[in-house]
């Protein structure tokens, strides 16, 4: 994976310049598409001008195929980009937010992005819409405490169509392309019908750009599928080197940044249930293929726990770093789950520090920390007032 360059992203001046430049082209293209004019945008909802649908889906398909191909030739990782750019899916607020936004869209004639473009090209109604969006988001902020439980409902984490369907991204992409092109053909039929109904001449839809764009989509989609099939992508995976972590490093990382680790235990279930690393997940080796490791984002480091440190090939498809534990589970057992040997009075400072850390890990992992003092009961009890009427038991 080459793109994006983390040094550039973390360079604040670069990222702010990039923000302005990317925004510039975003605004420029939206204006050229005609999205600075409410009448053009509203046409989508009266079926007489499907430009919104055509532009939006061409854009989605282009960016998606670009990522699929770039991923296929190893320039970037689709999953990693998805992880950094997508928000978590909260099903219900997104559904309701979408419906509301659609209502606001047809009432104002703009969506938030296009209202900026409208205002920037001199349309006062666009400016009023921006002010409205600002007020609306402040209103949301004011009422956030009472909306919070709904705002957080339907949480399924970051969730993608390719995970839901359990197929590679390129395959979903081909499906989206087919759907989009079908949609474009349908949209043009609807436009023609509406023009006839209104006794107008339909807006001409020149064939050349259409053929060009559709052919590019078909070509890129085919390339995406092809890249999936050719063995270059699997070859480096076979040759992947798997680094080892010492039990001590693993313990440190588990305490400092557990969210960056994905500890996968492939010992048998009984051993796992008996003794395990806190926060680890267990899978039998036969079940690994069902975990979809190849489609994970790879942002966490995978630490594989085995008895003999052989790495099954399924694990090698994991896109992120893969580690094994030096010495396997028994090393962890000795380091973290057994009480460290008492320190000799002649121990050096390094040995003392190591002992202190190991004892801390032992205490943390086995729960031998002294129990907290028993809590003192507090609180005042008020008998609940009896509700009158209502309810099934009346």
């Amino acid at each position: 994976m080459t793109f994006p360059f983390s040094t550039l992203i973390n360079h604040s001046e670069f990222s702010l310049i990039a923000a302005v430049v990317l925004g510039f082209f975003f605004g420029f293209v939206l204006e050229r598409a005609g999205f600075g004019r409410a009448t053009k945008l509203a046409g989508q909802f009266y079926l007489n001008d499907m430009t919104v649908f055509k532009v939006m889906f061409s854009a989605i398909v282009t960016a998606m195929l670009g990522l699929v191909v770039a991923d296929g030739i190893g320039l970037t990782s689709f999953s990693a980009i998805a992880t950094s750019a997508a928000s978590t899916t909260y099903m219900w607020p997104m559904l309701v937010g979408g419906l509301l936004l659609g209502v606001g869209f047809i009432v104002s004639g703009y969506c938030p992005g296009t209202s900026l473009v409208a205002a920037s090209s001199g349309n006062i109604d666009g400016l009023f819409t921006i002010v409205g969006v600002g007020i609306g988001s402040l209103v949301f902020g004011e009422f956030y405490p009472s909306l919070e439980s709904f705002y957080l409902s339907g949480d399924v984490g970051q969730f993608y169509l390719y995970q839901w369907l359990n197929v590679p991204q390129a395959v979903v992409a081909v499906g989206v392309v087919l759907m989009a092109i079908g949609g474009f053909v349908g949209a043009e039929m609807v436009e023609k019908m509406m023009a006839q109904k209104n006794h107008q001449r339909p807006e001409p839809s020149p064939k050349t750009p259409k053929r060009l764009v559709f052919a590019t989509f078909a070509g890129a989609a085919t390339l995406g599928l092809f890249l999936l099939l050719i063995p270059t992508k699997t070859q480096p995976i076979e040759a992947r080197s798997v680094a080892t972590l010492s039990a001590e490093t693993l313990a440190k990382r588990l305490l400092d940044e557990p969210w960056k680790l994905f500890v996968l235990d492939i010992r048998n279930r009984a051993d796992f249930e008996n003794k395990r690393i806190a926060g680890s997940q267990q899978s039998d080796p036969d079940n690994l293929k069902n975990l979809g490791l190849a489609y994970r984002s790879g942002t966490q480091d995978l630490v594989l726990i085995t008895t003999d440190n052989t790495v099954p090939p399924e694990v090698l498809h994991y896109p992120g770093n893969i580690y094994t534990l030096a010495g396997g589970f028994s090393a962890w057992q000795t380091f973290a789950l057994e009480k460290p040997k008492a320190l000799s009075p002649l121990a050096t400072a390094t040995e003392r520090a190591a002992y202190a850390f190991q004892s801390a890990v032992y205490a943390k992992m086995t729960g031998t920390v002294a129990a907290p003092p028993p809590p003192v009961a507090t609180g005042t009890f008020k008998p609940p007032t009896k509700r009158k009427g209502g309810g099934c038991d009346g």
């Binding site: 990222s15 050229r32 909802f45 055509k54 509301l100 869209f105 009432v107 969506c111 988001s137």
Partner: protein, 171 residues
């Protein structure tokens, strides 16, 4: 005055928009947005008149937690770019002029009322859905996020459901 340049072919415009989005993914590892930046600017405006209120409203104070300067943020600069790009394009095409876009049967005052009302609804909606048509539907759609696709289909559904009742604005 010359007649304005025609709009781009929608498929080519979409292709160009897709390339901008792809560049954003590859260079910055994030997509495009609009409502998030507007939210920040709005909170900034409120902060200049009522800073205590902003600090006491958790959803707004949260924006200040990392960096107290509310405008020092990627998406604020991005919408500044959108503004510039829109102006330059409109100017070059001969479309940069003040006006109110409306149908023949609605007064300017009423049209502006609708514009601001729709904006308020979208402001709430975009915060609720964690993004708007740019940040959620376009960006999330391209990376195949399930929530974004749900959002996108709902936007169309919401628009079609209500379009009939506001048709006087446009015709």
């Amino acid at each position: 005055m010359n007649t304005p340049t025609k709009f781009w072919n929608p498929y080519l415009a979409g292709f160009a928009l897709g390339l901008v989005l792809l560049a954003s993914f590859l260079v910055m590892g994030k997509g495009l947005g609009a409502s998030g930046g507007v939210n920040r600017v709005a909170v900034f405006a409120l902060d200049t008149v009522a800073p205590n209120h902003v600090d006491n409203t958790p959803y707004m104070a949260r924006l200040k937690s990392g960096n107290p300067n509310l405008l020092d943020s990627y998406f604020v600069f991005e919408i500044l770019g959108v503004f510039l790009g829109g102006s330059v394009s409109a100017f070059a095409a001969g479309r940069l002029k003040r006006g109110v876009i409306r149908g023949p049967n609605i007064t300017v005052g009423k049209r502006l009322m609708f514009a601001v009302t729709g904006g308020v609804i979208m402001g709430v909606a975009a915060r609720l859905a964690r993004g708007c048509t740019s940040g959620q539907a376009l960006t999330g759609g391209a990376i195949l996020s399930v929530g974004s696709w749900v959002f996108m289909l709902s936007v169309f559904a919401g628009g079609y459901a209500v379009a009939y009742f506001v048709r006087r604005q446009w015709t």
